[in-house]
Amino acid sequence: MSYTDVEFMICQAARLLEDNKTVFVGWGMPQVVALLAERLYTPNITQVFEFGAIGPQSRTPFLRGTMGGPQNTYRSLQWCSMGLAFSYAQAGYIDYGMLGAAQIDKYGNINSTMIGDDYERPKVRFPGSGGGNEVASYCWKTIIVMNHEKRRFVERCDFVTSPGHVMDGKTREEYGLPKGTGPWRVITSKAMFDFDEETKVMRLIAVREGLSVDDVVNDMGFRPVIADDIKVLEPPTEEELRILRDEIDPYRLVIGK
């Protein structure tokens, strides 16, 4: 069964979540990941939305326009303020977070702000942090999901929007970020990475079926650590694809066509 890159990444991410945990869910792809996980793997996961919805039983199909609306926040445990949602995260109550990235460096620093040398006159301007900086700062385990393109893996992000493990020679704890947090996994359209415990450098741990380590690494702007034992990422199952396509995102707003 064929599948899109996005479907591939969504399924990998959904399989990483744990049941009976909390997950900070942002706009778009993370919503679909959480919905898929909830249907198949983690029925008791508690979704947290920054605008103030805790533990909804979101309706499907996924509609982009319902962010914050009745479908998306259906039967939440709590509707609250953004300040409270971020406080849950800052106080340590949120286990998982999910983020996209326009650029990433080997320590997991993320750019979602701008491309170019001149902050005042960027070549390309993106929406900026949103709640992404808080996800990366506060959640215990942050999962980064992004297309695998060489230009996205850089030595130094043009702009570090959200913190990785080490920036400009200083660790995140030295900057004052909460202990024991930081990027945990990077899922791309070609591979999965974690971070070396000692050096905090991104480490390749698994590749997509049919790809070699070189296929992955040649498409990166820096060289990651390579784990001793490289696993193969199982492709999306029929069940995953059926639920994604038929139940969660029949309009293919996120999973693509």
């Binding site: 009745p70 301007r125 929406p127 900026g128 709640g131 900086n133 808080e134 700062s137 200083k170 004052g176």
Partner: protein, 322 residues
């Protein structure tokens, strides 16, 4: 408490003492009828050069009829608080109302991106969390809130935050300066004529924004009697003494939705969010904003009862919204 690092951006800040004095002298504790239409409210309470905050988003319970009125009155040189925003910043920038944007979330699309790339609008990067903390500090009447976001990023460097050594732990912590906007516009489901108001669904920063702002305009789907608040006081989010104007604005969040009332108009939203060229934007503004006199005329002549009825029909989930 040593200052370790300092973001280099200018930021909007008011000494809490000055905000307090404004509150004492200008915030109205009278029980008086504050009901007026969008035109009067914006004329009276939004000035050129104001720092403007709004709440929730283009998709849900955003104060869109007030945004359109600000554009219609061609307000200039606004500095906006673009937290969790999509189309508001795009429209306000497209209409030339905005010079500066605190981001938050800029709103997406190449149209607004180009305005930044060109230098037509200046952005200051924060995050949804740090801007929320700034509003909380403004609402609490304190000069800053310490928090552990922004640290170790370029966002920090381009913000107005400080990092200091926390005297209690010896570790670095960021200080987010209080934000007290000049004016806030907030859409709610229910308000009375005095400004008591409540929302159903996620409350985002509704209360903090109203408390922290010098001038507050509330638009409401319904105007209800004060007794409705007194019967369920746990649900009141804004007490009347925070508020300067109350606008009765059915479909006030259109093209977004309001929970318990109507769904968003996805077609209109898509049409608007796919605008790329200046020409198309100006055509949109002309057709939907400048060429109509009021929110009522906009609904009647540009949207139509058939469409509105359809959006109401789609909003079938009422649980939790009344």
């Amino acid at each position: 408490m040593e200052i370790l690092e300092k973001g280099d951006a200018e930021f909007y800040f008011m000494d809490p003492d000055d905000f307090r004095e404004y509150v004492r002298d200008r915030k109205n504790r009278n029980w008086e009828d504050k009901l007026m239409d969008e035109s009067e409210a914006v004329r009276k309470f939004v000035d050129d050069g104001d720092y403007l905050a709004y709440d929730f988003s283009s998709l849900t319970r955003g104060p869109q009829s007030l945004i359109r009125e600000i554009i219609r009155q061609r307000k200039k040189h606004l500095w906006i608080c673009a937290k969790f925003t999509l189309l508001e910043s795009v429209l306000l920038a497209g209409a030339g109302c905005v010079d500066r944007i605190d981001v938050g979330f800029l709103g997406f699309g190449p149209y607004i991106a180009r305005k930044v790339q060109n230098g037509e609008v200046k952005v200051y990067d924060w995050s949804n969390g740090s801007i929320t903390y700034r509003l909380i500090a403004g609402a609490m009447g304190i000069p800053f809130i310490p928090a552990r976001d922004l640290l170790g990023t370029d966002t920090f460097k381009k913000s107005g935050a400080l990092a200091v050594e926390d005297p209690f732990t010896g570790k670095p912590v960021a200080l987010m300066p209080a934000l007290n906007p000049d004016v806030a516009i907030i859409h709610v489901q229910e308000a009375d004529i005095y400004g008591n108001a409540r929302v159903y669904g996620p409350t985002v920063a509704t209360l903090e924004t109203a408390m922290a702002s010098k001038k507050v305009i509330i638009s409401a789907e319904r105007i209800v009697e004060t007794i409705e608040f007194r019967k369920e006081p746990n649900m009141t989010i804004i007490p009347y003494y925070l508020v300067d104007a109350v606008v009765h604005a059915p479909f006030g969040a259109y093209p977004g939705g309001t929970q318990g009332y109507y769904e968003m108009d996805s077609e209109h939203y898509l049409m608007l969010s796919s605008i790329r060229e200046e020409e198309d934007m100006q055509r949109y503004l002309e057709e939907y904003i400048y060429s109509v006199d009021s929110h009522e005329e906009f609904l009647e002549k540009r949207i139509g009862v058939r469409k509105l009825k359809e959006l109401v029909r789609k909003a079938q989930i009422l649980e939790g919204y009344r």
